[in-house]
Symmetry: C2
């Protein structure tokens, strides 16, 4: 037996999902619904608050409750640790460290990190393989303050992604996907023929203090990304 609150939530959300209540339409007031469902106002109030939090309703003090406008759809792609991704596919993760250094970055890059032009950034280029098969080139810049042990980490045993996840000092970021052709050097590293088609993913993650890390992932065009589609969340 559902609680009264759950019954109200179920009843109202069903009316919205079925289209009987349309976006923008006004629901009855808490007092009216209180009479309709035979419960106290606070019970209606809590039910509607929850529906508001879930994105079904918009409530305006002094005015009433309205069905929220339909939300656009989005595609959601999980950020997986390349190590876990390879192991989930039945492979064995291996890595070759091509670069692991503290470098003075070009001014625009350093600026994004909120650091002076003379502050070194941590730079790593790692080739990830499933067994002997190249899967991805990871080219990452990182604020060394966030990962003090960055120069002593054995990147063949731990991924920077995994280490950063454990710290998770960022709130938001942006990502960009495009198709491109590998440079000769990249093709050689990935074991592809010259000019092969690749998928390039560029991520930049930010905290309140500035950019945390910036990474360019290059995968052979034969690989693909899989995501799911869902209505956009609120906020």
């Amino acid at each position: 037996m559902d609680s009264k609150r759950q019954q109200i939530i179920g009843s109202l959300s069903e009316r919205i999902n079925s289209g009987r209540l349309k976006p923008g339409e006004r629901l009855g007031s808490e007092s009216e619904l209180m009479a309709e469902f035979g419960v106290s106002r606070m019970t209606v109030h809590h039910a509607m608050r929850e529906l508001e939090a879930r994105g079904f309703l918009e409530r305006r003090k002094g005015s009433g409750s309205y069905v929220a406008p339909a939300r656009p759809y989005v595609a959601i792609y999980p950020h997986l640790d390349i190590r876990a991704e390879i192991e989930a596919a039945g492979g064995v993760h291996r890595a070759r460290v091509l670069v692991q250094a503290l470098e003075l970055a070009a001014p625009p890059l350093a600026q994004g990190f909120g650091l002076g032009a003379d502050a070194p950034l941590f730079h790593a280029v790692v080739l990830h393989l499933s067994g002997e098969v190249p899967v991805e080139i990871e080219d990452r810049w990182l604020n060394p303050a966030l990962l003090p042990e960055c120069m002593s980490v054995d990147l063949t045993r731990e991924t920077l992604f995994g280490l950063l996840m454990a710290r998770r000092p960022f709130r938001a970021g942006d990502e960009r996907i495009r198709a491109c052709t590998a440079s000769d050097e990249e093709a050689a590293v990935l074991g592809l023929e010259q000019g092969a088609v690749c998928l390039e993913i560029t991520r930049r993650t930010r905290s309140d203090e500035g950019v945390v890390t910036q990474v360019r992932l290059l995968r052979p065009g034969t690989s693909h990304l899989e995501g799911r589609i869902a209505p956009a969340a609120r906020d």
Copy 2:
């Protein structure tokens, strides 16, 4: 001046975000927090309920409230109407309809739509242009029951995406992105040279009754997708 509830929410979420309270750790009971913040139990209760809904806490009846495990990050790509996308970039949307027909689809395709092998599917192939510049080939299959007017729609004036959004009869779906080379025919339509690099997006959206629509979008490799990164939502 924030409400007491907001103060409690802010205080507790700050402790979690800063790492002073770690995932799995138990918070004080409602009674303890009630004393700490100098408010009634119900005020604490409502604040913690909201933190639970937002994914900060897990609450267990009879046991207590615990900091929720850290959520993985995801990249979120909005589904935009190609028309709006082109106009937002300052272009003028134009479309060339290459196919607009009811066709008997191959069995695996028809099966996915929950229709018999002898039931026709609506098939459309539309080239979208910004002015004179090809932007995207849209190759879509659609259950005609969901868009009865599909054969009479002027696809140069309306997009199938827009029409489906107005109906929005689906709850979920999946999407796949990969890099590929255009076929000779596709390259000709998109005005690219043979074997040009392209970005291919395949979407399949489902309702309770089965597949609603399936679409393959092909864009020149020079274009890219832009998304944002955020912690995964609950559910």
